[in-house]
Subunit: 337 residues, 2 copies
Amino acid sequence: MKLRFRYYELHLQHTFTISRSSSNIRPSVIVEIEHDGIIGYGESAPSERYGEDKSTVTEFLKRIDLSQFSDPFELEDILCYIGNLSDGNNSAKAGIDIALHDWIGKKLNLPVWKFLGFNKSKMPSTSYTIGIDSIAMIEQKVKEAESFPILKVKVGVHDDIEIIKSIRNLTDKIIRVDANEGWKSKEEALEKILRLEEQGIELIEQPMPADDLEGTAWLRERVHIPLIADESFRYSKNLRNLHGVFDGINIKLMKCSGMREAVRAIHAAGTLNMKIMIGCMIESSVGISAAAQLSALADYVDLDGNLLIANDPFSGINVLNGKLILSDLPGLGVHSK
Amino acid sequence: MKLRFRYYELHLQHTFTISRSSSNIRPSVIVEIEHDGIIGYGESAPSERYGEDKSTVTEFLKRIDLSQFSDPFELEDILCYIGNLSDGNNSAKAGIDIALHDWIGKKLNLPVWKFLGFNKSKMPSTSYTIGIDSIAMIEQKVKEAESFPILKVKVGVHDDIEIIKSIRNLTDKIIRVDANEGWKSKEEALEKILRLEEQGIELIEQPMPADDLEGTAWLRERVHIPLIADESFRYSKNLRNLHGVFDGINIKLMKCSGMREAVRAIHAAGTLNMKIMIGCMIESSVGISAAAQLSALADYVDLDGNLLIANDPFSGINVLNGKLILSDLPGLGVHSK
């Protein structure tokens, strides 16, 4: 098996602002695993929030030696080896996991969703993300998102309530609110959520800092809509601590290390009666297609990372009225543009 | 997709006695799913302990209408439909699940373990089961089990300690003890386990009645070896209640409804830091081969159900010095004799 990778800069259509940061360009490393004349594509989209960037990804990928394995079907062993190379580097690990899945699908002449036993038409509609901005720009973005039935709105700043009110004035679509750890006390979070509930929002993602599980549990007793863990949830082993604190988890391949671990987390969360959101970073169509393969198992889908960029280096996944349309081509069904 | 099934009587080599019952013949229904010129084999081995017998299996299978599905790749949807047909009937459901997996492997020309990403050589050795009997017969069975490095001994009767002592006098092999709910008070269980611990046993399966989780939790605080849930654990949804009560679970395809649910339970139990045993009923090589496909993920393997019968209608899985040898043939690798 040959492993190659190359760095891309993903250019955002709008400056993307959340409670803790703002960016115009996001890093992406496209991974290729070649074996038996077939190339599987993967993607690593690192996030500084989890201690990763372009150089941690490329340094990690350079350490990987696949010569000890005979082919990508040895998924469990390969991913175990990769997993044991370090504690973190989960987006780098996801790049390998995704490329292996793409390769297997191509080798078997099956789309990955079919290989995994899913029905591609059972996927919920994705939300479309609206970053923090001026009220005027937010109103413009709501218009741009016309074809999407669900909006996910970033908050965690001083005018959260005004942002949501202005959107609610324009539309009666489902609104999901993502605070990205932006509220610093449980009392502030409670006050904001109770006021946001009056605007008819569906759920709140990550109201409190990731480690403040006590504050989040306190909050959960007092609010009336589901609380979804994003920064508090990285991979399945976290679930033990989140049960009873959050109502659900946002699973992202780049946080959890890939599709196989995502399935593990979906299964474990289901056992604990927790809701599943499948989300993403700013990613190309490679990463988004990979996450979308699993979305038949999701309660909520938030896979618009590729739609927010202007220079997606891949094509293969489409969106129609907010619904992701998975390809019938083998593997992930993505192609380099 | 065509669904057929036929009833078999599996004849035991020795009368098989556990704490609650004794039998010479065990029922098995072999399931066939035919599509596209390929036949996938499954098995339903019903147990009265879980409200199933020959007629509940065959009545359930008659209710299944697969005409609404296009092929066995629609695993998630088919198993969801089957699951919703009734609350129980899990061995009947397992028959379908196993046949679908066998079909998919044959269609893709891949052994199921490879399709699932596992390494067939990573499977732990299986234990060999010694049922309740006279001390003289038990000593004979220990000799018959010479090639197996691990013994699983059934207890839950008046002379439990004598049984284990007599085996320990003959061998220093790993001994696992299965009480099959046979001890009726936590005090009796505690006294027996503490005495059994002196004989160097590895673990205790199901010391207390399935519903007595409070008594089991009390017991767990006082013993020094792992407690494994068998009758207390049926499928992944039970795990929420068993966490903190047992150290691990015995997953059997016939209890949980098949391979896909077994993987779900393995993932969820891992998240909760619980140990995994993969076990079986008295089954032919079809059911045993199916369970063995997943055994790379197990801490303990107890898959000797086919070795205890005299008239296995299938072949395809072998055992060498206690280690199950999975076939490299497509699907489960089993063949009607």
